[in-house]
């Protein structure tokens, strides 16, 4: 039997998850319908049921192709990327006990960028597969550097954050060095677009890979949600509550690095989602991770799909990089967090 207190919370969580699921479906439908030219929602719906073999409605092949091959896969990848980044943010904020922590704090995105730039500018390997691999390798190089600098993240949250800052600076400097010394104007433009994030060019295989990574990460995080709660009063307190601190830290940092590296290698460095979403979710479902993590995943997914729609709608005939949209929303939110986190007089 549950207590009155936890039942209230559970009912609220279920309601919240249902509402956000409806919002997600609506957002994905909208993302599929709106674009350079708009397609009716009815056509979108029939097109999806056609592909699933449920209906046999007549739809122009071009529309069918735009809906299925371009827009729907893009919207679903956006949803997964948002969910994954939000999950990473929630985990890092708990482990590092820092309200401003997010995936990029570990320097992972900077490392991924350097890896990608090596491929684009220096031409190490060729084609989109090697670009992803380059980003992936860079992300893990950064992660390894941070782990090394912070003794496997055992020497305290501030130490880990400082190590992340150092890694970010190093890899950003490397990226700039490579671009300025070796790149031409077109390459610089490509790199810049990639650094700010873009869902252009994602296809179904990206979705399948990301789906697996996000689901596996989510399951691991949920299994460790109780342990994450125990970090509320710090590492030693968690140990006194019976949590294997070192193991939990390493596993969850690894999951965070894997998720971030996968996402960055597909869609570039999209900032602020990991920072903003966990804070927003905490207001609604509270700080305990068994509720916070599912809420974060849903809010992150909805937020990213809407941000992607906005990135395609703000400027006519042009797509604004998704990182610009998330930052335009994220920075004011960041300011609010800073303001609220100031020492109370």
């Amino acid at each position: 039997m549950s207590s009155g207190v936890s039942e209230d919370g559970a009912a609220r969580l279920v309601l919240f998850l249902c509402l956000s699921l409806v919002a997600l479906i609506a957002a994905v439908a909208a993302a599929t319908a709106f674009g350079d030219y708009n397609i009716g929602l009815r056509t979108v719906f029939l097109s999806v049921t056609n592909e699933l073999g449920l209906t046999g409605a007549e739809i122009a092949p071009i529309e069918q192709s735009v809906i299925w091959n371009l827009r729907l896969s893009r919207a679903l990848v956006a949803a997964l990327a948002g969910a994954g980044l939000a999950l990473c943010g929630a985990i890092l904020q708990a482990l590092l006990r820092n309200a401003l922590a997010e995936p990029f704090v570990l320097g992972v995105s900077a490392g991924a960028s350097t890896g990608a730039v090596c491929v684009i500018v220096l031409g190490i390997g060729a084609g989109s597969l090697s670009l992803s691999l380059g980003a992936f390798a860079g992300a893990f190089a950064a992660f390894a550097l941070v782990a090394l600098l912070s003794n496997g993240a055992t020497s305290g949250p501030n130490h880990t954050i400082l190590a992340g800052v150092a890694a970010s600076q190093l890899f950003n400097a490397l990226t700039s060095y490579i671009v300025t010394t070796s790149g031409n104007a077109q390459q610089a433009r490509d790199v810049m677009f990639w650094l700010l994030g873009s869902f252009g060019g994602v296809r179904w295989p990206d979705f399948q890979l990301l789906l697996i990574v996000v689901i596996v990460s989510f399951v691991i995080c949920i299994l460790m949600a109780r342990s994450l709660d125990a970090f509320t009063f710090g590492d030693e307190d968690a140990a006194a509550l019976g949590v294997p601190v070192v193991r939990i830290r390493l596993v969850l940092f690894g999951v965070t690095a894997l998720l971030t590296a996968t996402i960055v290698s597909m869609v570039g460095a999209i900032g602020f989602v990991g920072l903003v979403v966990p804070h927003a979710a905490r207001y609604v479902v509270g700080p305990m991770h068994m509720r916070l993590l599912p809420a974060c995943a849903m809010v992150g997914a909805v937020f990213m799909v809407i941000a992607d729609i906005a990135s395609r709608m703000i400027a006519t005939q042009q797509t604004v990089p998704i990182g610009v949209v998330t930052a335009l929303v994220g920075v004011p939110f960041f300011a609010i967090i800073l303001y609220r986190a100031r020492p109370q007089a």
Binding site: M1, S2, S3, V5, S6, R97, A99, I222, L223, M224, A225, R226, S227, D229, A230, T232, F233, G234, E236, D237, A239, A240, L241, G242, V243, P244, R282, G286, P287, M288, A341
Partner: protein, 254 residues
């Protein structure tokens, strides 16, 4: 439950912080650890609670070597209250005490009747039962410390370790906390700075100096002017308190 330590040695790099400490605490006893700053009180407390591994020596709780007991199983028997642990997270009083049930719950288990009973009893024990929904950030220092003790009680431990639980509290709350701990039906080991409080509330006292046990025994046996002079480098008069027979220490400015 009894706590027995044999020849504990622990250090950082080449500096030895705990030097060959042996002690034993009887079930239900309240043991005070006193000593000057840097004498190794906190380190010894963590070794006894199993939060640090000794370089050599061993700790037995109820006859079991704690190095052989898994972390989670140990946390069902042993609770540790840190000195003034804080958080920025917006948790409620009930959330904090619920954390105490962590070692009793599996990764996905729901909230059981036993969990709820333990939390309610722990909150009532520290007289905070009516404040479950109050945010942590709005609690005073004394209330936070009481809440930490409630969280430790929710672990349903048989041994409780407290690291300077009276730090930063006014004298009323210092006495309130220590009286509460003394009256608990479990073995407790408390690191303390205030010698008179240690004399008032502990059954026995261990005096540490440079990581080694300098004296061990009842407050009257241990808190002598000679020991106070040698270990704490103060001159003091010790008189028996008329009501309790416990020693009372008066420091002189010389």
């Amino acid at each position: 439950m009894s706590v027995v330590a044999e020849n504990l040695i622990w250090g950082v790099k080449r500096r030895t912080i705990v030097q060959d400490v042996s002690l034993s605490v009887a079930p239900g006893e309240t043991l005070g650890l006193i000593g000057p700053n840097g004498s190794g009180k906190s380190s010894l407390l963590r070794l006894l609670a199993g939060l640090k591994r000794p370089a050599s020596g061993r700790v037995q709780i109820n006859g079991q070597d704690i190095a052989q007991v898994p972390r989670k199983a140990l946390s069902r028997q042993v609770a540790f209250v840190q000195q003034s642990a804080a958080t920025d997270t917006n948790v409620t009083v009930a959330d904090v005490v619920r954390l105490g049930r962590t070692p009793h719950r599996s990764a996905l288990a729901g909230w059981s009747e036993a969990d709820e009973v333990a939390v309610t009893q722990a909150l009532d024990r520290v007289e905070m039962g009516t404040r479950r929904k109050q945010p942590w950030q709005t609690l005073s220092g004394g209330e936070r410390q009481r809440l930490h003790i409630a969280r430790a009680l929710a672990q349903s431990p048989q041994v409780m370790f407290l690291d300077e639980p009276t730090n930063h509290l006014d004298i009323h709350h210092q006495i309130e906390i220590l009286r509460m701990v003394r009256d608990l039906d479990l073995t407790s080991i408390i690191a303390l700075h205030d010698l008179n409080l240690a004399a008032m509330f502990c059954d026995r006292i261990v005096v540490l100096e440079s990581g080694a046990v300098r004296a061990c025994g009842t407050p009257a046996a241990v808190l002598t002017p000679e020991t106070l002079h040698d270990v704490f480098r103060v001159s003091a008069h010790v008189s028996g308190s008329p009501e309790s027979g416990r020693p009372h220490i008066r420091f002189s400015p010389e």
